[in-house]
Symmetry: C2
Subunit: 351 residues, 2 copies
């Protein structure tokens, strides 16, 4: 049907919901009017981009296309929320190989559109082209924020509290679960491994572990934490979303803010399902929480003066505090031992 | 050196020149202030995205990395100019396989940065990741325009003049030249073709044809035509840039404007080097001009009342006029014969 036919089919019935969207798909560019954004005195436009490549960021052997589309959009929204902004528009670049049917591309797109619907974001354009190799998804997201509300990475101050919006390492354990099951399936399919080996649990392999899969396959961006913070009168001093892992992101905030930090092992929020699976797989759940990545929780620092205001906020965990730069970035273990944080990121797990 | 080290190296010394750029690389998002853009009463933000994939859009056997980076940026600028806007910021998504050295990636980036410098655009962010397969480049560009200046595709009116900003089919002939030389080189390298066959002209194969190569490898976006038009007091009624080919783009304008068109073979601007090479290669240069693509010239329509004002504008060719929709889209040949235009696009040439 050709590129234009495909784009037409993928983008039909899209109705912009953002007042700033003046002209969406169908021309050389989308057109936005950010001049007067409701309730914003000095509107600023935020822009972020993320590229997802098959075989690097996702494995289509176990990632459903609709989930992939959803996640590809949400990780961009997460970057906008991490600046304390509101995502408003995205453009989608897709490189598609011939092995995909139109229905499969529609499935991928339906995930992107569902994410847009849920987060009130307009899909305003894109570029769809043939790929000689794997599937490529590149999404760019615009957002808005009032000048005074924007939170950068470089504002953390001595004695600030370090907070996260939810449990860590869970998405990584979800990935481990999927990878393990894939290995089992492959072994079964090739007949190298009799089904009686006790590992091929079939459909029940994921039973009781649905939450881990959800965190890996269909993460949400934590906009729900920003509103309660605003209502409580708290503006974070520095903020990032956790895509590469707590250690790595925390070290970014510290290096850009020229401070050190101290976090406590026993304060790290860890999901019990994730902990149980880590035990089963002989993994250290604390290492997973520090370096697992893809949790898309918000990591932020707040003034110590805001401590009382933070208490009633749900899903908020205070895990440590900001120190002088010469102290470095450290984790205090359960037995009081001090360990320097390392920015491994999730890539390190691949080795 | 890791992703962050690489990005730091690639983006060091980048100094924003656009007043709207408030915060470039180094945080979750770039931050822009489009509230007060000089000379614009009602600023609008334009957004466009383009994805380039190795093996589909470019062949690294003959495309130098610096040229590739330059072109990847410029084709985005071209989309902004095609709305009568000014490009202001880009983000760059790169998927890089292990076969590339840091120096090669710097070479690619230097082309992107050169294009940004020449067109006054800020590189404000990006995403660089490992690719298991070929090189992937995804660039998203923002731009600004005053509400009243924006030119869409749907404004062409009956009797409007159809104009292009420069010769057509030249980039396509440049591609043919490069492909031919590649075949010769391959044959020579594999020893299947003795060097005495008269085709392996070596370094002189491109002599006298440098312009064709330049149009293919290092196209420019035609911002230089917009200023004279503005000074002449002419606002196009509809506009697009020619990336897929004149026929295809003209049919877009006509379908979106609900009009027909009539263009004349003898009015099509054709470069003499391109015509000579087409002759040599047994190609019909008019077909190349209609469907070749990648010329990145501007195609626009203007009111017939503006005819006198258009005459002094350099590099502007009037190739036909807008008709009633029932007439369809037609080319009048040199002998007066009428041919219906087909939206082949450049992909059709691949078959």
């Amino acid at each position: 049907m050709g590129e234009f036919g495909l784009i037409k089919r993928l983008t039909k019935d899209i109705k912009p919901v953002q007042p700033s969207t003046q002209k969406a798909a169908g021309d050389d560019c989308a057109v936005m009017n950010f001049g007067k954004v409701k309730n914003l005195k000095s509107p600023r436009v935020l822009m972020t981009t993320d590229m997802l490549l098959e075989g690097v960021h996702f494995n289509l052997e176990y990632v459903p296309l609709k989930h992939l589309g959803y996640k590809a959009a949400v990780v961009n929204f997460s970057d906008i929320y991490a600046m304390n902004g509101t995502p408003t528009q995205i453009t989608v670049g897709l490189g598609i190989s011939k092995r995909f049917s139109v229905e499969e591309i529609e499935e991928l797109y339906s995930g992107i559109r569902l994410a847009c619907e849920r987060y009130g974001v307009d899909l305003v354009g894109g570029d769809t082209c043939a790929s000689m190799t794997g599937l490529t998804i590149s999404i760019t997201c615009l957002g808005v924020a009032d000048e005074k509300d924007i939170v950068y990475r470089n504002g953390a101050k001595l004695n600030d509290l370090i907070c996260v919006s939810g449990n860590l390492g869970t998405a990584y354990m979800g990935l481990q679960l999927l990878e393990r099951e894939l290995m089992v399936q492959r072994a079964t399919n090739y007949g190298n491994n009799p089904s009686s080996n006790g590992e091929t649990e079939g459909p029940s392999a994921f039973e009781g572990k649905e939450y881990l899969l959800e965190r890996q396959l269909k993460p949400e961006a934590r906009r729900d934490i920003l509103e309660p913070l605003r209502k409580a009168g708290v503006k974070p001093t520095a903020m990032m979303d956790i895509s590469d892992g707590l250690s790595s992101e925390l070290m970014h905030i510290c290096s850009q803010s020229n401070v050190g930090c101290c976090i406590y092992e026993d304060k790290l929020p860890i999901d019990y399902q994730a902990a149980a699976l880590a035990e089963e797989m002989n993994l250290n759940i604390v290492t997973c929480a520090l370096n697992g990545g893809e949790d898309y929780e918000l990591l932020f620092t707040c003034s110590l003066d805001d401590y009382e205001k933070l208490i009633p906020v749900e899903d908020l965990y205070i895990i440590g505090h900001i120190t002088k730069p010469e102290y470095g970035c450290n984790l205090i273990g359960r037995n009081g031992e001090e360990l320097a944080l390392k920015a491994q990121g999730w890539n390190a797990f691949e080795n």
